[in-house]
Amino acid sequence: MDLNMNTSRHHLPGDLAIWIFIFAELSVFGILFLAFAFARKYNLEMFNEGQLVLVKTYGALNTLVLITSSYFVVNAVNAIKSNLSKYCSRWLFAALFTGSIFIIIKLIEYKEKFAAGYDLDTNVFFMFYFILTFFHFMHVILGMIILTVVAIKAHKGEYSSQNYTGVETGASYWHMVDLVWVILFPLVYVMR
């Protein structure tokens, strides 16, 4: 069954269940993005002032970090398709390392905001800022847990060029985490 799915040119990467999950997640993030955009429309001054407090460089760095992490995951999938499970594992651990950088930058950012007295109750802008970014942050954590499991299994040689649905499943989820941040960054940090 796996063999047939993996060799077809038109197979969906990974397990079907993860794609149902991905579309459910994208729907929730989409609603949150639109809620932010339309709340801003009616609180323009508050949102523009709140955005000035954010450090764009942190947002941009985290975008670069997640894109690089996604690229490493693409290399991991390509490695396992060539039956190179050790390389697959190494690329996944590299992706986990870059994911960790994202976590560190985000924690620094949160620490600075809390130290400056900003939290969920400050105003509508900061309520959205914390909800959106923390919801995404939790997805990064979940994605890293999934990638860790996949990386360990790849290291043990449990995947091969004939059986790599698990690697593609983890990869698809991680790319979704990247994709969501690619929209979140300009929406929350840049556009005004």
């Binding site: 989409g30 993005f33 639109l34 955009a37 941009a60 698809s172 790319h175 990247d178 690619v182 556009m191």
Partner: protein, 78 residues
């Protein structure tokens, strides 16, 4: 190919950061940023997620989601 896409995505991210700081009109800045964002999302969907090779229904679903969300964000900002 994936290395080329990665470099393009990195450069477009830096472009997004700098476009926000330019002296262009607000409308132009938002249109450029949303256009770049839509393109980046499609690159990730097609080349990183690998959906360019799957049945068209999945591609249409992903395209529709990103087009709808980014268009409505544009509507709210402009």
């Amino acid at each position: 190919m994936s290395t080329f896409i990665w470099i393009v995505l990195m450069l477009l991210t830096i472009l997004t950061l700098f476009v926000g700081e330019t002296e262009l009109t607000r409308k132009h800045i938002i249109l450029i940023i949303l256009g770049v964002t839509f393109f980046k999302v499609q690159m990730i969907v097609d080349y990183f997620m690998g959906l360019r090779k799957v049945r068209w229904g999945w591609q249409v679903a992903m395209f529709s989601w990103s087009f709808l969300i980014i268009s409505l964000i544009g509507f709210a900002f402009l």
